[in-house]
């Protein structure tokens, strides 16, 4: 089965600073990958998904972007963070019809 690594686990960043969150996958090749944001410990909002290297689909227009430079690497970025970007960011990978999730990154923008 797949394993997803996300880092860092927690991050505190000032408003206007850049962001880079990384997700890597082990145990599979050519996975479909997803970035979700969870605000206030509740529902999951799909941000981006990727079906292959360089292929990114955006679900929500915002100041975040995603890239997939390698088959098993998925990066979430921002040039200038907003307070509203605070939340819990989860990376996920397709597995047997559902998902395997990473352990998440708690981002606090101050």
């Amino acid at each position: 089965s797949q394993t997803i690594h996300q880092w860092p686990a927690t991050l505190v960043q000032p408003v206007g600073s850049p962001l880079s969150l990384e997700c890597t996958v082990e145990g599979t090749s050519n996975p479909n990958l997803y970035w979700y944001r969870q605000a206030a410990g509740r529902g999951l909002q799909l941000l981006f998904y990727s079906v292959g290297i360089g292929q990114i689909s955006s679900e929500v227009p915002q100041n975040l972007s995603a890239s997939r430079p390698q088959d098993r690497q998925f990066i979430l970025s921002s040039k200038k963070l907003l307070l509203s970007d605070s939340g819990f960011y989860l990376c996920a990978c397709d597995e047997e019809g559902g998902y395997t999730f990473g352990s998440g990154t708690r981002l606090t923008v101050v």
Binding site: G43, F88, G97, G98, F101
Partner: protein
Amino acid sequence: AQSVAQPEDQVNVAEGNPLTVKCTYSVSGNPYLFWYVQYPNRGLQFLLKYITGDNLVKGSYGFEAEFNKSQTSFHLKKPSALVSDSALYFCAVREPNQAGTALIFGKGTTLSVSS
């Protein structure tokens, strides 16, 4: 468009009592349905899924769910709740045969089991 509804923000139950966490869905065709659990500041963990076959699905930690096509429901159940079951539970749906499409999640239900 596919959607999932979890009508209860919170479910409270005493330890040892049966529990039910409700989920209804809307999707064209026969859905793929999932339950995930989340503990504080952790990623989501898979509990069980319905793809095809028996309507009663058994999963991890003694949980089960019943797929009811006529009521478009997939309620999560456990015969005897434990305090350690207290967590946030998510129902999710996916359109069939669409491996590249994303899961759609409900807003989550907080389960609180009291001793």
